[in-house]
């Protein structure tokens, strides 16, 4: 039933899937904990928004642009000194989390900004007319209106994080992508590589389906 090649490498495959989950999971946490507030700051300091601040907006905007301009492989290499500083080593799954978290934060922050900018201006005006503070404008109005878009953006981001995680083999980060290249491509086990690609397709499909379902359920527009 289960192909022999998968049985032969079952321990390595399970380990690779685990590594992918760790790397992507950490990226998602970074995106939500830091990327969401950063995207919110970008929105709030945007021209004609509740906390308009040209200097702060330009600083955050440029920072996000610079990070997103890097080809990811170069970002990984560029981050090695910082990675060493934070986790004490530049090699392994834990070390791989640092560049992944950085790109995850920048990636999701931009998508959050765009989602929030889609909230009708009138909703914010109505909130202001009711005497809402900036915090209340965001939590009781803007996030509520943008919630399905924020979920779809996170879904898109997670799929990108999975793709980014496949590159982490260069710093010994492991993961499904790295396993597919080392065991499948480099050892001429094309069938093994194809099975790894299939696992990634299934993973992406599941995430996209779940994200779309949740967003549709919450979207009452």
């Amino acid at each position: 039933m289960i192909p022999d090649v998968l049985v032969q490498y079952d321990t390595e495959i399970i380990q690779a899937i685990g590594e992918t989950f760790i790397m992507v999971g950490a990226s998602v946490v970074a995106a939500i904990v830091v990327g969401l507030p950063l995207g919110t700051l970008l929105y709030m300091t945007h021209p004609q928004k509740p906390m308009e601040n040209k200097l702060l907006y330009q600083f955050c905007n440029t920072l996000v642009n610079i990070i997103r301009s890097f080809p990811f492989l170069l970002l990984v290499v560029f981050c090695i000194p910082l990675t060493r500083l934070i986790v004490g080593t530049a090699i392994g799954t834990t070390a791989a989390i640092v560049p992944l978290a950085i790109i995850a934060i920048a990636h999701y922050a931009r998508l959050v900004e765009q989602s929030l900018l889609d909230v009708p201006k009138g909703v914010v005006e109505a909130a202001q007319a009711m005497g809402a503070s900036r915090w209340q404008i965001m939590t009781k109005f803007v996030f509520v209106d943008a919630r399905s878009s924020l979920i779809l953006s996170l879904t898109t981001s997670i799929v990108s994080f999975i793709s980014y995680s496949t590159i982490m083999g260069v710093v010994g980060g492991g993961g499904i992508g790295d396993f597919a290249i080392r065991y499948g491509y480099q050892q001429f086990k094309t069938d093994l590589m194809m099975y790894m690609i299939l696992i990634m397709i299934i993973l992406v499909q599941c995430i996209q389906l779940a994200g779309t379902f949740l967003a549709r359920t919450l979207d009452k527009r």
């Binding site: 007319a129 005497g131 399905s148």
Partner: protein, 245 residues
């Protein structure tokens, strides 16, 4: 009740409001009208400082808004209700939540929300729609929800920015009847911006006519009252036939 003193506003080089002074007495239904681009909405939005004047003063209920801190301004806004042309409801909140959020912002204890929302929904005739989302309502119903949201905190002033411009004539008369009822029942000061002469004539006791960002004339008038409408297809037929007689 509402005093604007020499307010001036420019957007870049374009002067929107030029040295306007206005005194709106307590309990009045005050109309502001004029052609497109005359500055009607800008003047109205200055009354709760959604639009901050470049110079001049805005005083509402004795409170000087132009020099107020953010906290003071937010507090003052809680006693100034506002409704908009395009309703500005939160699409992902139910009718109940759209109204309850105003109570929550006004620090009304949560245990009072259900009763207060039910009262105000019954007042605007939407008691059966509390669990619906705005997308499930007609334009007139959405505006009634917006009125309920503005009314639920019992403000002393209600600012209405072209509240009927996005509605058909039958729905318009329904909304105007609700506003007139609010004025009768609560003695609220209502400021009504409209480009429709019929709307102003039917409702207002005072009118300011604007042109190119300045007051062209102010008038005291006697409201003619709102013509009731049965809001049926037959009423459209009758209206069309009357026009052809």
């Amino acid at each position: 009740m509402i005093v604007l003193e020499n307010v001036h506003k420019a957007f870049g080089k374009e002067v929107a409001i030029h040295d306007v002074s206005l005194h709106i007495p307590e309990g009045a239904i005050y109309g502001i009208m004029g052609p497109s681009g005359a500055g009607k909405s800008t003047i109205l939005r200055m009354m709760n400082l959604l639009e901050k004047p470049d110079s001049g003063h805005v005083i509402v209920g004795g409170r000087q808004l132009t020099t107020a801190t953010t906290l003071q301004l937010n507090a003052a806004r809680k006693s100034i209700g506002m409704i908009f042309q395009h309703f500005h409801l939160v699409a992902n909140k139910t009718v109940y939540d759209n109204i309850a959020v105003a109570l929550s912002l006004a620090d009304v204890p949560k245990k009072e929300h259900a009763t207060r929302v039910a009262e105000v929904l019954a007042y605007v005739g939407l008691e059966a729609h509390a669990k619906k989302y705005p997308a499930m309502l007609s334009g007139g119903q959405k505006q009634r929800v917006a009125i309920a949201r503005a009314l639920v905190t019992k403000p002393r002033v209600l600012l209405c920015d072209e509240p009927t411009s996005a509605l058909d004539s039958n729905t318009t008369s329904g909304i105007l009847q609700v506003l007139a009822q609010i004025h009768r029942d609560f003695g609220m000061t209502i400021v009504l911006v409209s480009h429709e002469v019929a709307v102003i004539k039917s409702m207002c006791t005072h009118v300011a006519i604007l042109e190119q960002g300045a007051i062209y004339k102010t008038l005291d008038i006697t409201p003619t009252g709102i013509t009731a409408s049965d809001n049926t297809a037959e009423s459209f037929v009758r209206a069309l036939q009357e026009d052809h007689v």
